[in-house]
Symmetry: C2
Subunit: 176 residues, 2 copies
C-alpha cells in the first residue's frame, strides 16, 4: 500500500483509519461490479465515484459489448458522474477502481479534477489477465521516436486558421 | 514536422508525397471542425477518423457542453468510429486531430489499435490557450510519489474475490 498524499494534507491517525475503512468498503463494491460484469459480457473491471459519502456513479467495462475502445470502467463512471452532478469538474469526488487505472483513465481522472484515485489490483495483475495497461505505461515512458504507433505533425495552422487564436479571442468561452 | 514511421515501413518517395497531401486534406478538415466547434459552445478541438480513404467518424470537444470530462474531440471520434464500424478494433484507420492528443486521447488511440495519429498544433500551443495537455504529459513523466493527485492501492483481492481470476476461468470471454 502506498499513500501519496501531498505534503500538508496528512490526516491525523483516527481520520486516516476511518478513511481507510471507508475506502475498503467502496473498493470492495468496485470489485463486485468487476466480477458481475463478466457474465454480463464485459471486461473484468468495475469503478465507482463517491462524493460526500454517496455513490454518484458506477461504471463497468463495455469495450467489447459496445464496440467502444474508450468504455473502460473508470471512463464510464466519470461520464456518468458528470451527468449526475451536472458538472464537468468532479473535484471533491473520489474514484474507486477494481484495478489501477490505465494511462487513458488516469488522464481522464486528472481532467476530471478528482480528489483521489483508489484501486485494488495493479497494472501487473492486469497484464497477467491479458490486458495492455502495463505495456502502455512503459510506452509512455520511452522515447516517442521509437513508438510503433506513428505520430505525425503535418501542419501548424496559420494564425488566420488557428482554432486556438479563435478561442483566445472568444469572450464567452467556458474554460475548463 | 516529425515522421515517426517505424523501421521497415518507410514508403517510397511518391507514395510518401501522396500520403502527405492526403494527410493535409484531412487535417485541414479536422481544423475546420475545431473552429466550428467554438461558436457551437465547445472547446477548440476537432478530430476525424479515416479508413480506406473515407471519413468514418467526426468528433469535437464537448467537455463543457455535455458535462463530460472525457468528451475530447479524439475520444468522441473514436467512440463514433467504433459504432460506425461495429468494431472495438480500429486497426487500418487513422486519427486526424487539430491538436496533438493529450495522454488520455493518446492512450485511447493505443487501445483502439489505430494505425497512425496525425495532428496539427501541439501540446505547447494548447498550453498557450489555457489547456493542461503539456502539464499532464510532464506529470506522467515524473515520479508518481510526487503527484498532487493521490493514488492509493488499498486492497489486493484474494483469489476467491479476484475479477481477473474469474476472467481467466471464463471460457467465452471476448478479449481485446
Amino acid at each position: 500500500m502506498t499513500d501519496a498524499l501531498p505534503d500538508g494534507h496528512a490526516p491525523d491517525g483516527h481520520a486516516e483509519q476511518l478513511r481507510s475503512e471507508q475506502d475498503r468498503v467502496w473498493i470492495e463494491a468496485a470489485i463486485r461490479l468487476a466480477r458481475e460484469n463478466i457474465p454480463a459480457g464485459g471486461g473484468p473491471f468495475g469503478a465507482l465515484i463517491v462524493k460526500d459519502g454517496e455513490i454518484v456513479a458506477r461504471g463497468a467495462n463495455r469495450v467489447t459489448r459496445d464496440n467502444d475502445p474508450t468504455a473502460h470502467a473508470e471512463v464510464q463512471a466519470i461520464r456518468q458522474a458528470g451527468r449526475a452532478l451536472n458538472d464537468f469538474n468532479l473535484s471533491g469526488a473520489v474514484l474507486y477502481s477494481s484495478c489501477e487505472p490505465c494511462p487513458m483513465c488516469l488522464a481522464a481522472a486528472l481532467w476530471s479534477r478528482l480528489d483521489r484515485v483508489v484501486y485494488a489490483a495493479d497494472r501487473h495483475d492486469a497484464a497477467a489477465a491479458g490486458f495492455d495497461d502495463s505495456e502502455f505505461y512503459e510506452l509512455l515512458d520511452t522515447d516517442r521516436d521509437t513508438w510503433t504507433l506513428p505520430r505525425v505533425q503535418v501542419l501548424r495552422p496559420s494564425d488566420a486558421a488557428d482554432p486556438f487564436e479563435l478561442w483566445n479571442h472568444t469572450a464567452d468561452r467556458v474554460e475548463y
